[in-house]
Amino acid sequence: MTTPLLSVRDLEIAFRSDGTDIPVVRDLSFDLAHGETLGIVGESGCGKSITALSLLGLVPSPPGRVTKGQILFEGEDLVGAREQRLNQVRGNDISMVFQEPMTSLNPVYTIGEQIAETARVHFGLSKAKAWKRAVEMLSLVGIPSPDQRAYDYPHQLSGGMRQRVMIAIALVCEPKILIADEPTTALDVTVQAQIFDLFQDLKRQIGAAIILITHDIGVVAQMTDRVMVMYAGRKIEEGPVAQFVRDPRHPYTSGLVSCIPRLMMPPSDEVEDLFEIPGVVPAPRDLNRPGCPFSPRCNRVMPRCRDENPALEVRADGRKVACWLETEVAA
């Protein structure tokens, strides 16, 4: 048995507010294998982005911090690692692409410099070599005439181009893990498609494992191997992507899959109402109530759900679900 590339164990992240720690992520464990693409899905406020930031030790502190658990990267715990060590990992072993390409690049430096400095810091390359590497990266991510474009400043590029530059920065050190947090949400659909094609190509070339955070079920289906669904800071379902789409187990997951309109060719004659998940995600400070946090919104809620929070159970087929319905069926 090999150790996974990344293994998160019992992670808890809390934000301090008025003197108390309010957990926004709890009991979170998952593994990531070499070269695998893992999708993390959920509505906003479910703890997806903060989980991603925690992997790089970037939880904004204060007020946030990792209060429990381990983040094992190749067996080494990154929780509590020294800043110096984290800086060696960031951008080099694990790198990240953010949601907002318009604001994620420094406006006062050229894009070439912003790629090159990463290579200089991690590989100790000379200025000239690092610049050459930056130009190569620009060409790799599909920016035309990269040797001239390297001298451009971010404001001279479109949103799609900037996101390509972000990807170039993330990949310049050939990381083992690439975390992409809603990388295309701010972009147009046709540009989104270009970026995802680029991800697929680069994955083949570089072989990095990818963690893709998104709220878009279509994107997950198209891009990932395995999916993890988060609700209110917890993992509630995990499994291979095909089963996630075709046979979701948790009522929240099935709600997510069926509440979006699907493009159909040819279109149906009669339009039916979409499935609705009522209500909203509870605020983190309301999570201390007993019972399953999804129970107030669940259409299959049972009396038990309101009193006890179901634990994550491993099913016979290897999928994991945290729902009393599973136990009822099994029993």
Binding site: P63, E276, P278, G279, V280, P296, R297
Partner: protein
């Protein structure tokens, strides 16, 4: 489907939220307390402490604590405490009046420029730029010297050299809010420009404008003090700044003559600054962590 909760929470308006935040800010509440105390003393003090501020009442240059005039006397034998109590009125009156003029011009110019944009904006911004180039104190000196140093002229002079930053801020807020969907929504239900400017955009631009208006009072007080110090004060009234100016040649003999009026100005403006800071934090709770 509606909300999961069954009872509606109590309505909380943005102003109520801000007031709650403000009350929790000890420094700001302290500032408010100091300012109220200073205002009350300046308004009522002269009726309680009736020593005439402009007459010789004792030996000149008497140090504090050595006579019945607890803060001592100045080079003309005038009671310093009486001067401070009476001078506060003038200082505060000019401060508030000048701030009022500043804010009135600043908000009007900024609102028009920001709301209408285009040529109106271009023209008004040129005017603003012009007033920004004039060194404000020098220009106020010229105005007061040419038109005479009465309180009204002084207030007007301070007002017309101080409004530019308020105008810029107002303009920025108006430009930002003008583009927001709720303004478009108001238009789509038939709201006219007058309603949009005064009833829709201005209330939403109010928080930063209230902060600068508060601070404008402090700046105006400092300004009045500066003019008085230079001798450009109403000859018929005493203000704290004038007391410093009058006593300056005698700092070696009576340092208290400049120290106490200066402290009064400092305390007043500090109180206003604390209030301004508190308001700022109260209106932007997200920045509170700073």
């Amino acid at each position: 489907m509606t909300d999961v909760t069954t009872t509606a929470p109590k309505p909380v308006s943005p102003s109520m939220q801000a007031w709650r935040m403000f009350r929790q800010n000890h420094a700001a509440v302290l500032g408010l307390g100091i300012l109220i105390a200073i205002i009350v003393i300046s308004l009522l003090g002269p009726y309680i402490y009736t020593v005439p501020p402009r007459d010789m009442v004792w030996m000149p240059l008497t140090p504090p604590g050595t006579s019945e005039y607890v803060l001592g006397t100045d080079y003309l034998g005038r009671d310093l405490l009486a001067g401070l109590i009476n001078g506060g009125r003038v200082t505060l009156a000019v401060g508030f009046a000048a701030a009022l003029i500043t804010v009135a011009i600043g908000i009007s110019v900024g609102a028009l420029a920001g709301f209408f944009g285009g040529r109106v904006d271009n023209f008004l911004m040129r005017v603003t730029e012009f007033f920004q180039v004039l060194p404000n104190l020098l220009f106020a000196m010229v105005v007061v010297m040419l038109f005479g140093p009465d309180l009204l002229n002084i207030s007007i002079a301070i007002g017309i050299v101080s409004w530019t930053s308020t105008a810029r801020l107002t303009r920025g807020e108006f430009m930002r809010i003008r583009e927001m969907d709720f303004v478009k929504a108001e238009r789509s239900i038939g709201a006219g420009n007058t309603r949009l400017i005064w009833r829709v955009i201005l209330p939403n631009a109010a928080p930063p404008l209230i902060v600068v208006s508060a601070l404008a009072i402090g700046t105006a007080i400092l300004f009045e003090a500066g003019l008085s110090f230079l001798g450009l004060s109403d000859p018929n009234s005493t203000s704290w700044g004038r007391m410093i100016g009058d006593n300056r040649p005698y700092i070696l003999d009576s340092p208290w003559g400049v120290t106490f009026p200066g402290l009064c100005i400092f305390l007043t403006v500090l109180a206003i600054s604390l209030i301004g800071d508190g308001l700022n934090d109260a209106f932007n709770p997200k920045l509170r962590e700073r």
